[in-house]
Structures are given as C-alpha cells and as structure tokens.
C-alpha cells in the first residue's frame, strides 16, 4: 500500500514539474491520435453522410459491415497492419513499420468505422427532417451533403470525439505496429504498460493521470455538445 502512495506522490511531482519524458510521451500520443482523427474524419464524415442519403442495392449490407468493423479487436488490426507493413509485406519497401505513421494507420482503421457509424445514424435523422425541403429546392447531391454536414456539425463533432477517445486509449494495435520504442513510438498507453511491467509505478501513474484527464475532457466535451444540440441553441 505504501508503495502505491509513494507512486501517486511521485506521479504528481512528475506532472507538476512537467517531467521531460512525460511531456514527450503525452505530446506524441496527441500527435498520433489527432492525426488519426483528422484522417479518419475526412473519410468517415462524408462517407457516413453519403450512406444516410443514398439508397443503393447493398446499403444494408454496407451498414452491417460497418457495424461489424466497429467491433474489430484492435490487436487483430495491429496484426494485419504489421503484416502489410513488415519487410516481406506488400508495403514493406516503404519502411513504415515501427514509426508513428504505422501507428496512425492502425488507429485510422480502428476509428473510421466508429465515426462513420455514428455519423450515419445522426445524418439519417437529419435527412428525414430535411428531405422534402432539399428535394423541393432542387439541390445537387453535393449541396445536400454539405448542408447536412454543416447543420449536423455538432453531432459530427461528437462522433469525432468518440473516435478520438477510442484512439488515445487504445494499446493493442499501436504496441504491435509501433513497437513502443523510446523517443520514437512510445505513447501514453504503451508506456503505461511498459512501466507497470518494470515496476516504475510513479511514471506509470503519472501517465495514467494524464490519460484519464484527456478521457474526461473528451467526455465532458461530448456531454456539453449533445446538450446544446438537444436544446437547439446554436
């Protein structure tokens, strides 16, 4: 028990003094997960919206696939990306394995289905509301998608935040494709796993607090956003 208290104290000291390692790891985590978020959103938001307004033959199957992909175990994603990027894999020549880029790729694969699925649900609702008006105004497909994305931007931001929350807390995939290399690919979650294994609870707890703080921040933001959405205050 004493050991844990000492760990917590030391963790606070690390945070308050802005310990070099802690800051570096936190920044890398943010860099990787924010990059993944931007790329995943650029794919998932238009795709989810398109899926909501477009009727086509395999729509149901596509949605089912999307929901199934949402449940992909990150470790498996990590394994697949590893195989693709490894020396003997199809993209081996690019030398991306064990770089932040590889971690971003893995996280994009993990969160894109999640963001697309939330987007699709929200946009379907908005589309039902706007449908008659947008058809009547003779809008083009592009104009419809733009209108829905703009007027649904709060819900979309919520979707994106949910994706970010998943990305920043994810450990399995980035451990495999990033390799948890010091000063190169070490991020919050993989560092916590490593330090805990080594018995360095101070750093592990310090990193843990940062991670929890980030997760709380994201959740508060989602909560605040969905409340303004419900009350219809823009």
């Amino acid at each position: 028990m004493n050991e844990i208290w000492a760990g917590i104290l030391a963790a606070f000291r690390l945070i308050v003094t802005l310990d070099g390692d802690l800051v570096e790891i936190t920044l890398r985590s943010l860099q990787v997960s924010l990059s993944a978020l931007v790329i995943a959103s650029a794919i998932a938001l238009p795709f989810g919206t398109w899926l909501a307004i477009r009727r086509f033959r395999y729509r149901r199957a596509t949605i089912a696939t999307l929901n199934a992909l949402m449940g992909l175990p990150p470790v498996v994603v990590g394994l697949i990306v590893y195989l693709l990027l490894s020396r003997s894999g199809p993209f081996g020549v690019m030398g991306l394995l064990f770089t932040p880029t590889a971690m971003i790729i893995a996280q994009v694969i993990i969160i894109t289905p999640l963001i697309a699925s939330i987007t699709h649900q929200a946009m379907r609702e908005l589309w039902a509301e706007y449908h008659d008006l947008l058809i009547s105004l003779n809008t083009s497909k592009r104009q419809r998608i733009a209108t829905l994305i703009w007027d649904g931007r709060r819900t979309l931001l919520t979707a994106a935040l949910a994706g970010f929350g998943r990305a920043i807390g994810e450990v399995g995939a980035i451990m495999i494709v990033g390799g948890n290399i010091d000063h190169a690919t070490r991020v919050l979650t993989t560092a916590i796993a490593l330090e805990t294994g080594k018995g360095d609870f101070a750093l592990a707890l310090g990193l843990g607090f940062v991670l929890i703080a980030l997760a709380l921040l994201v959740n508060f933001a989602i909560h605040a956003l969905s409340r303004t959405e419900r009350e219809g205050t823009w």
């Binding site: 008659d132 105004l137 209108t147 219809g232 205050t233 823009w234």
Partner: protein, 233 residues
Amino acid sequence: MSVSLRDVTVRRRGKTILGPLSIDLDAAGFSIVLGPNGAGKTTFLKILHGVERVTDGTAEWSVSAEEARQAQAYVFQSPIMLRRSVGQNLAYPLQLLGMDKADVAKRVLDWAGRIGLSDALERPAPRLSGGERQKLALGRALIRSPKVLFLDEPCANLDGRSTREIETLLLAAQRDGTRIIMTTHDLGQARRLASDIVFLLNGQVHERAPASEFFTTPKTVEAKAFMEGDIVE
C-alpha cells in the same frame, strides 16, 4: 409555364390515394385546391411539384422537368426549418444558386421585413413559434421569385392579422408574375384569393370551375354541401 396531368394515379400500399385524374393548369392564375381532410390535396400538390412518385399516368410541365423544378417553390403543410438562424434560412435558397454575398444579404433584409421577422434575424429558426415558422417558410419560398408557388395550408395556424399579411404578400407575388397553387380549409380566404377552384374528393377532381362560378353556382351537391360546412363523403 403550364402543366397537364394525364390519367395520373397514385397508389400507396395497394390503396389508391389519388386519381385517376386529368387536369390542365395554365401559366397564370391563383388556383385554390379545396376538399376535406384526406381528399388528396397534399398529394396533388406534390405530384405537380414533382416530388411525389406517380404510379400511373404522366405529369408534364411545358418546360423540362429540371427547369420546371428550378422555377418552383413549395411551402409544406408543416414548415421545415433548417437548424440555422432565421436570416440563414432565408439566405439558403439564394446561396444554392451561387448568388454573391452582398446581394443575398440585401434580399434577406428585404424579405425579413416583408414577413415581419426583421427583429428575429439572428434567432434559431427551430425556436420560432408555429406562426412565425410559417411566415419564414413563405419568405424562403418567395425569395427566389419563383414562377410557380405551391402552398399547402400556409395560414393554418395564423391569427387574422397574420393571415391578412400573408394574403397581401401572395397577391403581390401574383402581380409580379408568380403563378400560385394553394390549398386551404378557410373558405373566406378561398373567396378572397382564388381565380379558380379545384375541388378534390376521394382523390378525384370532383369539380373544377372559375372561382366566381364555383362559389355562386356549384355544379355538384358535394361542393355545395362542402361550402355550407356539411360533412361530405
């Protein structure tokens, strides 16, 4: 532009909700569609506007379908508000045309004044009262100066004064060359505005006549009963 419907039938879930009916509407005038609830008035308007699927028959405008739709505006029975401010709702149809910002702003101010919402420009449209929404929907429809305007009970929740204001706007639009096709349950309003009447009953055009004729000498007993406030079946 004029329109002609030939043997138009609309079936939904095995039930015929409109037609078969054939009718021609000229390029000018103020037609009012009357009929009891469920007669098919909304369906009729949507067919003309081209947003409802026709099961059988044809609905053809004198110009191409694309051109026709672009020159029309429709005010829905329950107004659809974009989740934006009043001003942005008014601006939206103009922005779709790619009109430049200064022109849009000028027209928005002008129309906000005409529909009596100048003070509400910044307010979120979904928070307006029912009557204010109807006025906004009307302003948003007229702001493009459409050649044809469809209105589905535009004054249903309005008080006497608002109704007058809207009627004034509609008559002004008609003078400026907008052809109007409108439904209403307010017979006084029909008398004040209509140039001709389309009386729908059970999905059929039961009677069609110039307004003066229809109100003084209706040809069918059902139309007569309808005007006297009896229940028609």
